[in-house]
Chain length 139, copies 2
């Protein structure tokens, strides 16, 4: 397995844990450090293992059923660090029906004694497919 | 000047170029490679120097006057790569008045023969200060 494949495998485990609402699996993906960072779509940045895991716990508690699938995945190595960039397809289903939305994900992985671990996740809301192109501004 | 100070100086030049709507200064901050990436708030990911610069050009053409100031800035080194994380305070003014909004920025810099260069910028919309906390979901 190449280094890139190892990193993509951890990235797959991240989205599988998210889809399964599995906090233990999510815990195993992240590096347990006070400096890891996480930005959920529309949220301010969370700092540190404790706050990041608490946020996943709250999200999992408030999500009945969903499937988060990465597509357009790319990986790039920079020595001890690597990025995985992907679009996240989020399919949520309930008794009221199903809803598909998209987010753009930036995931940073660091190589450690116990393998590649997630140290930063930044996801942002994407426009619904087929909607007009966003106005060209930064705000 | 420490390595961290060098990186923060390039980060400051990025936000100054953005505030000044200065495409030449913006150009000098980025690494000119086909694999650099940029996500403007609410936009899909742009790939490669050409598309990224074209997007700044369009943004600058469509922005009359604004000031983008980073706060809560943190920097962390990972060998040849570094991240700078910050909140972006965007103050736009026009004849109709002024508007302040916020975004969360993740900036990745790579060390090169010509200094530290921006290789990824991911910015996402933040809730207006004082607005209710976002619902704890990923979508």
């Amino acid at each position: 397995m190449s280094v890139e494949e190892e990193i993509l495998e951890v990235n797959r485990r991240f989205y599988q844990a998210l889809s399964d609402l599995d906090l233990e699996a999510m815990t195993g993906v992240w590096l347990e450090e006070p400096w890891v960072r996480c930005v959920h779509p529309g949220w301010p940045m969370l700092s540190g293992w404790d706050d990041v895991m608490e946020s996943w716990n709250r999200i999992f508690d408030n999500t009945a059923k969903h499937q988060v699938s990465p597509d357009n995945v790319s990986v790039r190595l920079f020595g001890e660090m690597a990025w995985v960039l992907c679009r996240e397809r989020i399919a949520a289903s309930s008794s009221a029906g199903s809803l598909v939305s998209f987010a753009q994900g930036t995931n940073l992985f660091l190589t450690t004694a116990s393998g590649w671990r997630l140290v930063l996740h930044h996801a942002s809301v994407l426009p619904v497919e087929g909607s007009p192109e966003p106005a060209p501004t930064v705000h």
